[in-house]
Symmetry: C2
């Protein structure tokens, strides 16, 4: 492969070396630029001299200020890039450049399981809700037995899982921020892949009993007259064996009904695709994330919901997103989530520089600004139609910002609570990520990773860097993969291995 | 059973009704007191008139102020008990009444597995450390296969487990409080039941790589020349199957060595007993916790370590503990932990009243003061010799306060990190609690619970309330049960069912 770099925007004064293994000092690019020193794959090379104090530009945006004079052809390493101040929230333009709706795309369908509440499942799963961590091992014990003894008789059911979590009575339930883990737990149970047959295991003495978790008016489709809660402290259970038997009895009834469900054609508007990146590198913003962004635009035009998240990876690009808000109200909601998180980090004496990770940096990402600019590429170019707080349920269509921390499992948990029925996860460094309730399509930013992990990566976006495919081609390819996966015709790698990252609640409230 | 109440201290003006099912209005006690209204089992009756604004006394201490005039024989319900201010930390007397050491008890031994670092295991377990949540499902996958395919060939090994947790790169690793989850993870791996054969699975790009988790000088007994880390992103692993195979290969080597270990007699000084209560009721402070306290005194006299914890359940009794500190320094460390937690709760707009739970209240506990006074009974009467912060390793002997939240799983996780090799857990309402790394002995505060859950409760302290046993008898019974369990001659109920509450890290730092 000839020496090659990727410059994203004509105004950029740095570009990314894309040759596998990196390039040596003295290497000349076709345009005449000569490397002054070795530059690793995915790392930045200066395209022109950048004097000390001057902006370093990538994605057409300032990712930092030069900490010293940088020569053309030099490796723009992390230490040379000074972190600029984040965009001031009171100066972000709102709804000033909301893109018009793209031409509608008709005829995109998937075979799903429509639910009474209007959403549709892409999987047919029995999930057992736990109100408190105390009951987790009891439910896990029952789940193992259900998998071994009951599930094999009902091949139409995709699985059984415990919605186990670390929420306990320790959480200061009346603290202002405690509503976040509570609504997350509630909305997890309402995820379309698992909500059709609710079953709740409660201890009995917990602060968050089923009646508080599912208050009057909650859309849980509880069947009239049929018990839907096993309360372990109830007098009727004479020990552990009895508790497990009770859970299994109620589970089998539900599994039997689940097994009678059939997939039916559903419009793309019943898709709720949550997008996330994890273990990102400098390619993520060039290949995998833009592919996802292109697919997001197509899905939005087909009427679907696409959710992007990860507040700290949006914060430094909020000046680009504010103008794209469909209305000023949506824009204000976006700023509100950013301000809440700024304050949350401040309270804990941290700031956005806690992200990125050493892996991100090894992968060429100098700081959170560069990471954020690459991360928001997942949102494509549509107007932002809705903003949801952490753990809130999303029913809006179009492009939605569902606020979450960037931590993979917390984001995945909160997007599951928001109602996603397909998850798209891009990765540069590689991570074997999976969720129990939702299929996870994993996209590599580089071909080397896809080759190394053929049984974990579902789609290789590195083909964009090598010139094998275009963003447009791969965007369509991803849409088709999403439809196939939603329909159960394709099982994502993580599903085949049954990889199921434990739920991780976002609890900004203290524990006692 | 004749009408019976339990008054703890001669100064008390309330007592607890102990008759199962409670007592009716008009019931006369042998001393002539007549109930003015029905009082439920474990709830309080006024022994004399208590005028509005006057102290309500239990355990010889003020548990609250009367919110209205209370007649003799009345049910002292939660609404009548006004929460008093917590003891002022700057007025707590320190080391003014440290009890002298009790007569040494010789000859108490258990059969354990001595480790090179001087501690001893009570179980012989392979635990696989995970540096980041990303690798959890991969390790769980490997653990399932190890259990099925390898473990059956090595009967001398008690089990294999993943030290899985929710710590991810989202944790703001340089925030002041982030050291708590980090040292917890480190010290979990050093627990004596699992530390003899370390094995770590790392992703590769995480913020907390093995080198930071186990820095130079960390007492992990890494075998020279033998690999002890599987790093999933390493080039050598060609996909998921390869990663799992590598973990299994290293695991089998360790299991083979573990299987050659033999139990040998160990002095009681190698016991580290962590005590905890969960799902408490008003009996807990009368039966189960004092039984534990009595056993704690005996174990301390035998040279063992006994750790009690749960800051919010100690805070309102700190004026009783401060004087018992062995030195002023130990007393100051106790106050420091209390002050840290006060501030932590304040930052989250919560306070100690977030504890207790509805179940505690149903069980007769009016507020956190009453709960705390019952909770600290677990600490017995010995001098307090050491105080450890959350997640710190404890090597001191004697009575130790290991600061933790009161949340069961967080406390259990932190006590495991502190190095406990037997866990004693008292419960009133009942909870099927268990830990993967440490046997959990569960003690009921009432006989009714022990009868209802015969396969979950290991010891019934309700026999103290019924007069069947004395605290002294049951204290010794518990010591013998601890020794039998430590020796593997007894398997606790939770072990027999393999109940393993997921680890729950205490992370007061924000996530990004």
């Amino acid at each position: 492969m000839t020496p090659r770099y990727v410059r994203i925007h004509p105004r950029d004064n740095v570009a990314i070396v894309v040759n596998e293994g990196g390039l040596k000092a003295g290497t000349a690019f076709p345009d005449g630029l000569v490397l002054a020193e070795p530059v690793r794959e995915a790392h930045k090379v200066a395209l022109e001299p950048i004097p000390k104090g001057q902006p370093i530009r990538r994605y057409g945006e300032v990712i930092g200020l030069a900490g010293r004079d940088i020569n053309a052809g030099a490796w723009v390493r992390e230490e040379f890039v000074e972190l600029p101040a984040p965009p001031a929230l009171d100066q972000v333009a709102l709804a000033t450049a909301a893109p018009p709706a793209g031409a509608s795309i008709g005829g995109l369908e998937f075979d799903g399981y429509p639910n009474p509440d209007g959403a549709a499942g892409t999987r047919n799963i029995l999930a057992i809700t736990t109100t408190v961590q105390c009951v987790a091992p009891t439910v896990e014990f029952a789940v193992r037995r259900i998998r071994d003894e009951i599930l094999p008789h009902y091949p139409g059911v995709d699985g059984v899982m415990a919605l186990a979590h670390a929420y306990g009575c320790g959480v200061a339930i009346d603290a202002p921020d405690a509503e976040i883990p509570i609504r997350t737990l509630r909305n997890l149970s309402l995820n379309p892949n698992i909500s059709s047959e609710p079953l709740v295991v409660s201890l009995g003495c917990e602060k968050l009993p089923p009646s508080r978790l599912f208050p009057e008016g909650s859309p849980l489709p509880v069947l009239s007259g049929e018990p839907w809660v096993v309360r372990l402290q109830d007098e009727e259970y004479r020990g552990f064996g009895d508790m497990v038997a009770a859970i299994m009895r109620l589970a089998e009834k539900r599994i039997e009904r689940l097994s009678r469900r059939q997939r039916v054609p559903c419009p793309a508007s019943l898709l709720n695709v949550g997008v996330q990146c994890g273990g990102s590198d400098a390619f993520s913003g060039v290949t995998a994330n833009p592919v996802v962004g292109h697919a997001a635009d197509l899905l939005v035009r087909a009427g679907a919901t696409v959710m992007f998240s990860e507040v700290t990876e949006v914060r430094d690009a909020v000046h680009l997103l504010g103008p794209r808000a469909a209305t000023v109200e949506v824009g204000r909601a976006l700023l509100r989530e950013m301000a809440w998180f700024d304050e949350y980090l401040r309270r804990g004496s941290a700031d956005r520089s806690a992200n990125p990770t050493p892996g991100n940096k090894r992968g060429g990402l100098s700081n959170i600004v560069e990471k954020a600019l690459g991360s928001v590429a997942k949102s494509g170019t549509s107007a932002l139609t809705h903003v949801a707080g952490p753990g809130e349920r999303v029913s809006a269509k179009g492009l939605v910002f569902a606020a979450t921390p960037a931590s993979d499992f917390i984001c995945g948990t909160l997007q599951t609570a928001a109602g996603m029925n397909v998850h798209v996860f891009t990765t540069g460094e590689g991570t074997p990520y999976g969720l129990g309730a939702v299929p996870v399509i994993k996209i590599s930013s580089r071909t080397a990773l896809a080759r190394r992990w053929p049984d974990l990566i579902d789609l290789d976006a590195g083909r964009v860097a090598s010139g094998e495919s275009t963003l447009e081609q791969m965007g369509w390819e991803l849409v088709r993969l999403i439809l196939d996966t939603a329909s159960g015709r394709n099982r994502a790698c993580a599903e085949r291995w049954k990889l199921d990252n434990p739920l991780a609640l976002f609890n900004p409230a203290p524990v006692t």
